[in-house]
């Protein structure tokens, strides 16, 4: 009985934590000034927001139901895909010159996003 009670409080606490972090992510999305900084809010704060809620769902299923491990998979897939979408958005910002230009890499010629083949260069300049 007491274990049930403690776990119920744990579920409630995790839901609140998840909700708070999700809210902060949303606030960051509105508040931060430009594309690159805005990228930080959802990718970071989103992972723990969703993570805490999934953990709550998992504990809940073990206390009141049959138990479920699907949440682990959701978390794993989220952690694998979140950096990729963030990386794509960062590349778009660099490519469209929508942010401060990054410094040149020390050992190689340029960043791969800016590495336009010679025959395409004029085309890029006219569309940009």
């Amino acid at each position: 009985m007491t274990v049930d009670l403690i776990l119920t409080f744990a579920i409630a606490a995790l839901l609140i934590v998840g909700a708070i972090f999700t809210l902060v992510g949303a606030i960051g999305l509105i508040k931060l000034p430009d594309g690159m900084t805005r990228l930080h809010a959802p990718t970071k704060v989103g992972t723990i927001g969703v993570g805490a809620m999934l953990l709550a769902s998992m504990i809940n299923s073990y206390v009141y139901g049959e138990g479920s491990m699907h949440e682990l998979l959701i978390m794993a897939f989220l952690f694998v895909t979140a950096p990729i979408s963030a990386n794509f958005m960062a590349k778009v910002h660099i490519h469209r010159r929508a942010c401060d230009q990054p410094p040149a890499p020390p050992r190689d010629d340029t960043w791969s996003t800016l590495d336009t083949p010679e025959e395409d260069k004029e085309h890029v300049e006219t569309t940009a």
Binding site: L39, T47, D100
Partner: protein, 166 residues
């Protein structure tokens, strides 16, 4: 023997992951589904090996687990730090910066794990790779000292990844 093993299991770790994922998807453990998971775990890496010809030579699963725990802890700390920055630092005082991380890692698998780790942890997003893959471009949300960020990434994550992929 070892050659036949590699032909049958081009990516042993992928086989293991696919079997575990399939079993978790069923949400209950039954012998039939585990066997089916193993069948999938053998067929999928074998059928897709043409698109992933080079496998990492050595891979330490135990060190990968301890790395995962460190990263999970860092993600929790990072979330609190980023939430604090978002809520308390006004936009005019925000100091975003580009950080260039020279890479010692060469394997593409190791570099993608490093880039993923950077995106998931303290106020940093990995944005781009240089054209020959010798440097990683990282964007930091709020830092006074980009060099310290670079050193921390190199010492905390890259050094460990070098031990995992040998």
């Amino acid at each position: 023997m070892s050659r036949a093993f590699h032909k049958l299991f081009p990516h042993p770790v992928l086989t293991l992951i696919l079997t575990v994922v399939w079993t978790l998807l069923q949400n209950e453990i039954s012998a039939g589904m585990v066997v089916f998971g193993i069948i999938l775990g053998v067929i999928i890496p074998w059928a897709t090996s043409a698109w992933w010809p080079d496998r990492p030579r050595g891979f330490h699963l135990g060190k990968m687990l301890s790395y995962t725990l460190i990263v999970m802890w860092d993600i929790i700390v990072a979330n609190i730090q980023v939430a604090w920055i978002v809520l308390t630092v006004p936009n005019s005082k925000l100091r975003p910066a580009w950080v260039v991380v020279p890479l010692d890692l060469r394997q593409p698998e190791a570099i993608s794990i490093l880039a993923g780790t950077i995106t998931l942890t303290p106020g940093t997003v990995s944005a781009d790779l240089s054209d020959a893959g010798h440097s990683l471009l990282v964007h930091a949300l709020h830092t006074d000292d980009p060099d310290a960020v670079r050193d921390e990434i190199k010492q905390r994550y890259e050094a460990r990844l070098k031990e995992i992929f040998v």
